[in-house]
Structure formats: C-alpha cells, structure tokens
C-alpha cells in the first residue's frame, strides 16, 4: 500500500516538476511577453496541480487535503484573471508583439483630429496621438479652411488669399505630424476647403472633442 502510494506521489511530482521546467524554458525562449504568458500558464495548471496533488496523496489527512484542494481551486480561479490583467496592461502600455504574429482580432480604430494650430491645438494633438497609440489605430489630422469669407472678393484676390490659407494649413498640419513623429506615431494629414453649407455639416460631424 505504501509502495503504491509512493509510486503515485513520485509520478505526480515528476509530472508536475516537468511542466514547471517546460514553462520556465518557454519563459526564457519565447519571443514576446504575450507568448511567454502562454508558457507560464502551464506552471499554475498542470505543474502546480501535479505537485499539490502529490502532497495530497502523500499526507492523505483531511486538513491537508482541504488546504491543498483549496489552493488548487484558488489557482484555477485566479490564474486566468491575473494573466488577463497582465495581458490587458501590456496591450494598453503598447508592449509590442513579435513580428511573426499574423493574427490580430482586436478592432483597429481610425482617429480623426481636427486642428486649428496654436498652443491649444497642441494639447488636442497630444491626446489624439496617445489615443492612436493606445488603440494602435490610424491617426488623421484634419484642418478645414473656410472659404465662405472669400466670396465677395474678386477672383484674383480670392485665389491669392486661398493659396495663403493653404500654406498656413500645410504649416499647421506639418507641425501636428512632427508632434506625432516625435512620439513614433505616423499620422496622415488632411486639409479641407469648405464653401458650401451642405458640406459644412459633413465636416463638423468628424470633429473629435477630448474631455476637458
């Protein structure tokens, strides 16, 4: 009876330790944090459960069994929660995955940031850049040139003013793009001239206002 028990204990122990070592090897060898998390889940499920069941079989008394089963149950409940929290935190903090990863099931966002230039806009740019980084989304800076004021002027003057406005828009957008590039984010710039009332409504629906 003792021999049978010892053999069972030895088998459970060696099995558990085997999975522990495999998980640790995976932790060192795998290329990114998300894959390493995949390796360490073996420690808490197969590895630890094996070792703790060996303890249960070896002692066999009620108080030990209760404690051991409680710990196993606790680990089975908390390991996924802990892994999820680390993975979520890693994703939000922008921890990169290895380039060989091909599948991406999370939604990609497109962030459109309307800009007027100046100091106040720089803060808005900052928030848009952070949002784009967090969601790993596409970032578009939009500057709208209002040409309704040019209507009453003559053709030549209107054209000259319009080209001035375009140059200003380009300067504002390139400042915004430079701000994004400083934070390693690629942004698309978009200028827009509005003159017709119908068009206005379409443009204003693209504005994004960050919380104050």
């Amino acid at each position: 009876m003792n021999l049978v028990r010892d053999v069972v204990v030895a088998a459970l122990l060696l099995g558990g330790v085997f999975f522990n070592v495999v998980a640790a090897v995976g932790l060192v060898r795998l290329p990114d944090a998300y894959m390493r998390m995949h390796a360490t889940s073996k420690t808490t499920t197969l590895g630890l459960a094996g070792v703790l069941l060996a303890v249960l079989v070896h002692f066999g008394s009620y108080d030990v069994s209760t404690k051991v089963l409680l710990v196993i149950l606790f680990y089975f409940l908390t390991a996924p929660v802990g892994a999820h929290m680390i993975a979520r935190s890693a994703y939000i903090c922008g921890v990169d995955w290895c380039p060989a990863t091909t599948r991406y099931d999370l939604e990609r966002a497109t962030i459109v940031c309307a800009t007027r230039g100046g100091e106040e806009s720089a803060r808005v740019h900052q928030q848009a850049i952070e949002l784009a980084r967090e969601r790993r989304g596409e970032l578009i800076f939009l500057h709208v040139v209002d040409t309704t004021a040019l209507r009453g002027l003559g053709h030549d003057r209107a054209q000259a003013l319009l080209s001035e406005m375009r140059a200003l828009a380009a300067a504002i957008l390139s400042t915004a793009a430079a701000q994004a590039a400083a934070l390693h984010t690629i942004a698309t710039s978009l200028g827009c001239a509005r003159s017709q009332p119908d068009y206005d409504r379409n443009i204003t629906s693209l504005y994004w206002r960050p919380p104050a």
Binding site: D6, V9, A10, L13, L14, G16, V17, F18, N20, V21, A23, A24, V25, L27, V28, A33, R36, M37, T40, T43, T44, G47, L48, V51, L52, A54, V55, H58, F59, S61, D63, V64, K67, V68, L70, V71, F74, Y75, T78, V81, G82, M85, I86, R88, S89, A90, I92, C93, G94, V95, E134
Partner: protein, 87 residues
C-alpha cells in the same frame, strides 16, 4: 523516495533560475511581471515538496499565504503599470 523529492526540488530550482533569467533580461516591465508571477507559483511548488521532504504538513499553511500574495501582487503590478500609461 528521497531521491525523487531531491530531484523534484532540483528541477524547481532550475525553473526558478530560468525565471530569474527572464526577470533580469526583461526587456519590458510586463515580461518581468510575468516571470515573477511564474516564480511565485514555482515557489509554492517548492514549499509543497519541502513539506513532504521534512514531513511537516504545517508548511502547507505557507502555501495558502504565498498563493494569495502571488495573485494580489500580480494584479497590483498590472494595475500599477496600466496607471503609468495614463497619468
């Protein structure tokens, strides 16, 4: 039996050393947290085998505490790093 126990202890110490390698190498804080979480689980196994080796079931109380601490610290670290992303 003692040989099997010593072998298991050696195996877990090896696993712990490999976790330490990952903690030292990083490269990100999240890798370190994952490695420390794994190290906590490995230490729980280590204490469990020690309890058999020394015939001291009292050591199993330490396992319960270690399991709780491991989980709480992992969650705390995860929250802390997330907070760092949004000051």
């Amino acid at each position: 039996m003692n040989l099997v126990l010593d072998l298991s202890l050696a195996g877990l110490v090896l696993a712990l050393a490999l976790c330490l390698v990952r903690v030292l190498r990083g490269p990100t804080a999240h890798d370190r947290v994952v490695a420390l979480d794994n190290a906590a689980s490995t230490i729980v196994g280590l204490v469990a085998i020690y309890a058999i080796r020394l015939r001291q079931p009292v050591l199993l109380d330490a396992i319960v505490v270690l399991a709780l601490l491991g989980f709480v610290s992992t969650v705390a670290f995860a929250r802390y790093l997330e907070r760092g992303a949004h000051p």
